[in-house]
C-alpha cells in the first residue's frame, strides 16, 4: 500500500495538506461513474471475441482469451440491473472495452461501453460514511465510498474484490 501511495504522490505531486492520495480507474455503468482502485486493474483492452458459455447466468457474457489467459467476462450493468431503460439492444460488444481485474487468485474482465479513465482522489475527497453508503452497505457490501472530483463530479467507489467474491455470483453460475 505504501508503495502505491508514494507512487501516486510522485505522480500527482503532494497534495496541499500532505494527505494520502489514491489512484483509481473510472468507468461508466448505466448513468453513473464508478471507480475501482488501480492496484487491481491488470489492463484495459478492447473487448476481445467472447464465447458464451452454456448454462451460465446472462450477466456472465462468456469466456475470452486475453493474452493467452482464458478469463470470464462479466457485464456489471446487467449484474447490477443498470441497463438504461431506453437501451433495447446491447451495444455491439466489439465497440466496448474490457477492464481486466486481477483478483488475487483469479482474473476476470468486465465490459464497459465508454473508454475508462484514471482518477486521483485525496482522502478528503472521499466520503466513506454518507447515509446513502450506509444504506447501500446493508444491501450490497461492495460500495466502499463516494468520491468527489475536482470538477465536482460524483463517483461511486467499488470494492472490487467484494463485488466478485459475492456468493451469489457463484451460486447463480451453478447449473
Amino acid at each position: 500500500m505504501e508503495d502505491k501511495d508514494s507512487i501516486a504522490l510522485v505522480q500527482e505531486g503532494k497534495s496541499k495538506k500532505n494527505e494520502v492520495l489514491y489512484q483509481f480507474v473510472t468507468f461508466k455503468l448505466g448513468t453513473e461513474d464508478y471507480a475501482v482502485s488501480i492496484e487491481h486493474v491488470k489492463e484495459v483492452t478492447i473487448t476481445p471475441k467472447i464465447s458464451k458459455m452454456p448454462k451460465t447466468p446472462p450477466f456472465i457474457k462468456g469466456v475470452a482469451s486475453v493474452r493467452g489467459d482464458l478469463i470470464a467476462i462479466v457485464d456489471l450493468e446487467e449484474r447490477f440491473d443498470l441497463k438504461p431503460a431506453l437501451k433495447i439492444k446491447d451495444a455491439p460488444i466489439a465497440d466496448s472495452f474490457t477492464i481486466v481485474i486481477d483478483a488475487d487468485t483469479y482474473t476476470i474482465g468486465f465490459i464497459v461501453t465508454e473508454m475508462p479513465n484514471t482518477l486521483v482522489l485525496s482522502e478528503s475527497q472521499i466520503n466513506r460514511s454518507a447515509d446513502v453508503i450506509e444504506k447501500a452497505r446493508l444491501k450490497n457490501k461492495f460500495i466502499s465510498g463516494l468520491g468527489k472530483t475536482n470538477d465536482g463530479d460524483l463517483v461511486i467507489l467499488l470494492d472490487i474484490l467484494k463485488v466478485l467474491s459475492a456468493k451469489e455470483i457463484s451460486q447463480i453460475s451453478s447449473v
Partner: protein, 548 residues
C-alpha cells in the same frame, strides 16, 4: 540386471545418499543437544526406511548396519541409553561406514559386513563401555574419503513439474496458432520453421510428461501385504497375480487412485471371494484368485482388478434398488444386466449386508466412481454370477493433456475426452424415435438414449422434441457412463486433437457441466464437456419429468 532393476537401484541410491546426508547432519546436531527427541526420531525413521529399502534391494551389508544402528537409536529414543561418551564416536564411525557402503553400492567387494562395528553397536545397547573403548583404539583406517559426493540426480517438486507442464501447454497453444497462421499465408519458409518448432514443442511436451511418469509397481508393491492382512482377517485364502507392473502413469493419477484400488481390493476379498469351504462345495479351487493388471494403449492406462469369487447378481441389485426406492420396478425390468451393474455407482447404494472393518461401511462404489470421474477416467464392471467380477478402470496417462474429439454445437466449440467416447456414428433421421418424450436411437440390438446437445446446452428447459431435429443425417457421439450408453447429437464433428485442459476459474468454477476450457489454434475458446456430470444433469432432468 534389467532396466527396471537398474532404475530401482538408481532411485535407491539417490534416496540413500540423501538419507545418509541427513543422518550425518542430524547426529552432529544430536551431539550438541543429546536430549533432542525430535532429531532422534528423525534419525530412527531414516534408518528404518533405509533398512527396508536396502533389504528389498538385497544389499545385506547396508541393511544389517542400518538395522543395528536403528536398534541403537531405538534404545536412545526409549531412554535406555544416552547419546554421549564413547558411544558417540562409535556411532559416528558406523554412520560413516554406512555412507561408505552407500557410495560404493556398485562394488560387490566393498559390500561386506564390518563385524567389529556391528558387535560394537550391540555393545552400545547392552552398555559395555569398556569394550567399546577397546574397539575405538583398534578401529581400522577411516573409511571416509575427503572427496565429497554430490548426487547425480536432483529431486524436483511436483509443483515445479506442474508449472512446467502448464508452460508447455502454453507453448503448444502458441504453436497451434502459428500453424494456423502459416496455413493462411502460404509462405514456404514459415511453414518449414513451424514444422521444426512443432517437432521441438512435441518433444518438450513428451519429455516433461515422461518426467512425471512413474511405474505402477510403486503402488502395486504395497498390495501383497495389504491383501495378506485382509485375507487373514476374513479367513480367506487369496492368491495374488500382478501383471504389467512396469506400466507407467502420471504420478498424480496414481496418487488419486491408490485409495480406491485398496477399496476395490477389499471389496473383492470381503464380498467377492468366498470362504474356502464354500469354494470347495462349488468345486472351485480353495484358494481364491485376485488378479491386478495394468496395461496402456493410446494414451490411456487400463487397470483391472478381477476376482474369481461369487460375482454380482444383476437381479439382486435391481431388487435392492427398487427396495431403496431408487427406481421403479417397471424401470428395473427394462434395465439390461449391464445397466443394472451401473446402479452400484448411484450414491447411497451399497450391496454389503455385513459391516466389517474393511468394507461395507457405506463408502461404496459411488465414491470410487466419483473419484475416477474427477480425473476424467472411467470405471466399468464385468461380472458373471458364480464366476467372478472384474473392475476395469480406464485412466488418462496424464491429468492435464488429453486426446479429445472436437465438435461444434451452435456457434461454440466443445471437446470430449476420447476416454469417455465409445464410438461415433452417423445416422439418418429414420432411425431416431421419440419414446415417451425421450429421444432414442435404434441400433443393431440395442436402444440408446439420445441427448440433443443444442437443446441441452442452450435451452432454459431441456425438453427435446423432434421438431428441433431438422437435419436428415445426424452425427452422434456415443459415450459410456455408469455402464450405460448415451448418444450425444452434435451439430458438426471437427477433428481429433490433443488438448491442454485449463481448469475453470471463478466465477465459472461452479459450472459442473464442463471440466475445463482450452484455447484452440484458431484462437477460439473450446469447452471440455464433463461426461459424468453432463449425464447426471441429464438424468436428473429426465427423472424430474417422470413419475416414480
Amino acid at each position: 540386471m534389467n532396466d527396471r532393476e537398474k532404475e530401482y537401484r538408481a532411485i535407491f541410491l539417490a534416496e540413500a545418499q540423501q538419507s545418509y546426508d541427513q543422518i550425518s547432519t542430524d547426529i552432529v546436531k544430536l551431539e550438541r543437544d543429546p536430549g533432542n527427541e525430535q532429531v532422534v526420531a528423525e534419525i530412527f525413521r531414516l534408518l528404518h526406511n533405509m533398512k527396508a529399502n536396502a533389504g528389498t534391494m538385497e544389499l545385506e551389508a547396508i541393511a544389517e548396519l542400518a538395522h543395528r544402528l536403528e536398534n541403537v537409536f531405538s534404545a536412545i529414543r526409549n531412554g535406555d541409553i544416552t547419546f554421549e561418551g564413547s558411544k558417540v564416536n562409535l556411532i559416528f564411525k558406523a554412520v560413516d561406514y554406512l555412507g561408505y557402503l552407500i557410495n560404493n553400492i556398485a562394488k560387490p567387494r566393498v559390500q561386506q559386513h564390518n563385524n567389529e562395528l556391528l558387535d560394537g553397536l550391540n555393545e552400545v545397547i547392552s552398555g559395555g563401555e569398556d569394550r567399546i573403548e577397546g574397539l575405538q583404539s583398534e578401529g581400522g583406517a577411516s573409511v571416509v574419503s575427503n572427496k565429497l559426493h554430490l548426487s547425480d540426480s536432483v529431486s524436483i517438486s511436483l509443483k515445479k513439474l506442474d508449472d512446467l507442464l502448464n508452460l508447455v501447454g502454453e507453448l503448444i497453444i502458441s504453436r497451434d496458432h502459428l500453424i494456423s497462421f502459416a496455413e493462411i499465408i502460404e509462405n514456404q519458409q514459415i511453414k518449414v520453421i513451424t514444422q521444426s518448432l512443432s517437432r521441438v514443442a512435441d518433444s518438450i511436451q513428451e519429455t516433461v510428461m515422461t518426467a512425471r511418469l512413474v511405474t505402477v509397481s510403486s503402488l502395486f508393491n504395497k498390495f501383497p501385504r495389504i491383501i495378506r492382512d485382509i485375507a487373514a482377517k476374513e479367513k480367506k485364502v487369496v492368491n495374488l497375480v500382478v501383471e504389467g507392473a512396469d506400466t507407467t502413469i502420471d504420478r498424480n493419477v496414481l496418487k488419486v487412485i491408490s485409495d480406491i484400488m485398496i477399496h476395490l481390493i477389499r471389496n473383492a476379498i470381503t464380498h467377492g471371494i468366498e470362504a474356502p469351504q464354500d469354494r470347495k462345495k462349488q468345486k472351485k479351487k480353495e484358494e481364491g484368485s485376485l488378479k491386478i493388471s495394468a496395461s496402456s494403449d493410446k494414451g490411456l492406462v487400463f487397470i483391472s482388478i478381477s476376482d474369481d469369487g461369487r460375482g454380482l447378481n444383476p437381479k439382486a441389485i435391481k431388487s435392492r434398488a427398487v427396495e431403496k426406492k431408487m427406481i421403479t420396478s417397471a424401470k428395473a425390468r427394462s434395465l439390461t444386466d449391464n445397466e443394472a451393474l451401473g446402479l452400484l455407482f448411484v450414491p447411497g447404494f451399497s450391496m454389503a449386508d455385513k459391516v466389517t472393518e474393511f468394507a461395507g461401511r457405506g463408502v461404496g462404489l459411488d465414491i470410487v466412481k466419483s473419484v475416477i470421474d474427477s480425473i476424467g477416467g472411467d470405471l466399468k464392471i464385468e461380472s458373471e454370477v458364480g464366476k467372478g467380477t472384474n473392475f476395469i478402470m480406464s485412466l488418462p496417462i496424464s491429468m492435464a493433456v488429453k486426446a479429445a474429439l472436437l465438435f461444434k454445437v451452435g456457434e461454440n466449440n466443445f471437446a470430449l475426452p476420447l476416454l469417455n467416447i465409445h464410438s461415433v456414428v452417423t445416422v439418418s433421421r429414420r432411425s431416431i424415435h421419440t419414446i415417451a418424450g425421450v429421444l432414442t436411437l435404434e441400433r443393431k440390438d440395442e436402444t440408446i438414449e439420445l441427448i440433443y446437445m443444442n437443446d441441452f446446452l442452450f435451452k432454459e428447459e431441456y425438453q427435446t422434441s423432434f421438431i428441433n431435429l431438422k437435419r436428415e443425417i445426424m452425427d452422434i457421439v456415443i459415450v459410456w457412463y455408469n455402464n450405460k450408453k448415451y448418444g450425444l447429437i452434435v451439430d458438426q464433428l471437427l477433428r481429433q486433437q490433443e488438448i491442454m485442459i485449463k481448469p475453470l476459474q471463478k466465477p465459472l468454477d461452479n459450472n459442473h457441466l464442463f471440466s475445463g476450457i482450452t484455447l484452440l489454434g484458431s484462437g477460439e475458446v473450446c469447452y471440455v464437456l464433463d461426461v459424468a456430470n453432463a449425464t447426471k444433469i441429464y438424468e436428473q432432468k429426465e427423472s424430474s419429468l417422470q413419475i416414480y
